[in-house]
């Protein structure tokens, strides 16, 4: 069994408001977002529109590794372990400023650790991928404690002069400390990861150019997949209270899906934007103190690749 001992999150200091978005162009936006977390100074976006996505590195408040490190510190603190107790660090960055070394190696190195570390990512559904994988490893091959990091600063790749991407992407990092041998606040009841590569072109994060998303097709695809994942996950959840955490892409969609099921959902996409792999995990982290024994937390993922998945977590004593 996979146990989650600690979860952490980090958001950058800047925030784009709905008024900012209106100032930058026509806002026919009913998705719900009123604030978006970003590493970019708002006045920088005012002046440049981030037209050249390669020019913003010198103005960002933090880079992906800074956010990943902060999230990891929080996760380790909550797990009650020292960094030196980790045996493996894995992760990924959605838009790294350096494609080598691996993001996991950068964050791991900051802790002064000399342990295996490598990037292990499918784009936007990393947690179910990682949990599913570790669930299928021989137990003697998994260290006592594993740190999984997801860091994402897609606003660095957004063109703020046009496109739906302006209203969607936000920056964040998340981190999870997991173990198969040590119990934690959460245990994994079930997990699943599914690939749908035929539709992979709906979302692209180029290394140099602006991010691109086919918004309406992506929404349509995501709604279908989130519903499917929710059906799978609900069947696997134990009895007790159920909290839904969606992929933090579109608040309005999430509200509708939750409402259809008569379920409570936790969300922050309207205050933070869509931060890909980090999003749903960051929500869990923000509500960490509210997690109670017996609670079922169904975390749903659907995003780039295209990949969908879920992780059903149960609150433990």
């Amino acid at each position: 069994m996979i146990n989650i001992l600690g979860i952490g999150h980090a958001y950058p200091e800047h925030s784009i408001s709905l008024d900012d978005l209106k100032r930058w162009g026509t806002v026919e936006w009913s998705g719900g977002a009123v604030n978006i977390s970003t590493v970019l100074p708002v006045d920088y976006i005012d002046q440049t529109g981030n037209e050249d996505p390669r020019a913003n590195r010198k103005v960002v408040s933090e880079n992906q590794s800074d956010l990943g490190y902060r999230a990891a510190v929080m996760a380790l603190g909550r797990a009650g372990i020292e960094p030196s107790q980790l045996g493996l660090v894995v992760g990924g960055a959605s838009n790294p400023s350096e494609t080598c070394p691996a993001e996991a190696q950068r964050v791991c190195g900051r802790f002064g650790l000399k342990i295996p570390a490598y990037d292990f990512s499918c784009g936007t559904c990393d947690l179910p991928l990682q949990i599913n994988t570790f669930s299928n490893w021989s137990d003697d091959r998994i260290p006592d404690y594993v740190l999984c990091i997801a860091t994402s600063t897609p606003t660095q790749r957004v063109n703020y002069r046009s496109g739906m991407e302006r209203y969607l992407f936000g920056d964040a990092a998340s981190a999870v400390v997991l173990s198969t041998r040590n119990r934690g606040k959460l245990s994994v009841t079930s997990s699943q990861i599914r690939n749908h590569l035929d539709d992979a072109d709906l979302m692209e994060l180029d290394l140099y150019d602006h991010a691109r998303i086919d918004f309406s097709a992506t929404c349509e695809w995501m709604r279908v997949k989130l519903e499917e994942e929710l059906t799978f996950a609900t069947g696997a959840a134990a009895s007790g209270d159920v909290i839904l955490i969606f992929n933090q892409f579109l608040g309005q969609m999430q509200d509708e899906l939750a409402s259809q099921r008569g379920a409570t959902s936790w969300s922050n996409v309207d205050q933070r934007g869509y931060s890909m792999s980090a999003g749903p995990v960051a929500v869990l982290s923000e509500r960490w103190d509210e997690i109670q024994s017996g609670m079922n937390l169904i975390t749903l993922f659907a995003g780039a690749g295209l990949v969908s998945g879920h992780v059903v977590l149960r609150g433990e004593r």
Binding site: P96, E98, P116, I193
Partner: protein, 331 residues
């Protein structure tokens, strides 16, 4: 037990020889390159005229003129691996990829490769990335699984186009890098030409800043520190295997990280590995990052002899390192 069923490799056809580098007039010459790096030619996805005229001063422009993408190379290598394995893309159940030079991070390189090959839409495809020691990491990663949880066939790919990140105005890295891809099909359910005896992977991320591929800028590394680390760590990896297994360098084979030939010579001299059993490709392809060592094995695929041990010891960015000990079955 994990087997390698087939391997493939792919390289671009632009050749950069040492006289070309000498004529760049950047403070190096053919003699120095051969003596200190041991590379005669390296291959690039960039047109030679482009390198000559621009020196690749703006690495962001390189992609627009490159004749092949990392994905193109990966797919070529993968096709050869599939053919040698005797399977189709549709039979692949998992694709894992390593690249330090993706053109896009979303979709991931593995997802792009899987689609281009014609794998099933539902194939599991994700990145396992550590740059240079990818061969060891991928084998070790797959070897961690319970056998029942794995699909019949797993495709592993490593691809890199580092020449697109080289500053051809500076001599430090100009003579080193080449572009290439390698692929290998593994299975725990079907036996192949090579059986895994053991795999190993480790890292020291406190030194990860020693080798950097910047997304927007030129490549940079602490050359001396990396070279010293590479030789020492490779020797350690080999010695560890020599202590445990009956490796006979008169018949068994060593493949190291294809960083440069003089470094490899230091290693083989230390371990008394005869040149005839030291397989390499760096002298005419350059350092192809994570593709180098597996490409060597692929290029020597038909030379593998029954019951032969093949020691692959790879080191590099991260800093990370690993080894794979393979035994050739009855062919």
């Amino acid at each position: 037990m994990l087997s390698i069923l087939g391997m493939g490799h792919a390289h671009p056809d632009t050749k950069i020889d040492n006289s070309f580098i000498e004529n760049l007039d950047i403070g190096t010459n053919e003699e120095w390159i051969l003596n200190y790096i041991g590379i005669e030619t390296r291959v690039s996805t960039l047109p030679i005229e482009y390198i000559s005229s621009t020196r690749n001063e703006d690495p962001l422009q390189a992609r627009s003129v490159a004749k092949l993408t990392p994905t193109d190379l990966a797919v070529q290598a993968a096709r050869q691996a599939l053919e040698r394995s005797g399977i189709t893309a549709g039979e692949i159940g998992m694709v894992i990829c390593n690249t330090a030079t993706p053109n896009a991070t979303i979709p991931t390189e593995s997802q792009r490769v899987a689609r281009a090959l014609g794998c099933a839409s539902t194939v599991s495809a994700y990145e396992i990335m550590t740059a240079c020691p990818a061969f060891a990491l991928h084998i070790d990663f797959v070897n961690n699984f319970n056998e029942a949880a794995l699909p019949d066939y797993i495709l592993c790919v490593s691809t890199a186009t580092l020449t697109q990140h080289v500053n051809y105005n500076e001599r430090s890295d100009t003579a080193i890098w080449g572009d290439g891809a390698a692929a290998w099909v593994v299975s725990t359910k079907h036996t192949g030409r090579l059986e895994l005896v053991e795999s190993f992977f480790d890292a020291d991320p406190t030194r990860c800043a020693a080798v950097v591929v910047d997304a927007d800028k030129h490549f940079h590394q602490d050359g001396r520190a990396v070279r010293d680390f590479s030789v020492r760590q490779t020797v350690r990896l080999i010695r560890r295997l020599e202590k445990i297994y009956e490796i006979d360098w008169e018949q068994d084979v060593f493949i190291g990280h294809q960083a440069n030939k003089t470094m490899l010579n230091q290693i083989t001299n230390n371990r008394k590995i005869p040149e005839s059993n030291h397989w390499h490709n760096v002298t005419h392809l350059g350092n192809q990052a994570g593709a180098g060592a597996p490409a060597v094995l692929s290029m020597h695929w038909d030379q593998i002899r029954p019951d032969q041990y093949i020691v692959v010891a790879v080191v590099g960015a991260g800093l990370s390192w690993g080894s794979v000990l393979l035994k050739a079955g009855q062919l």
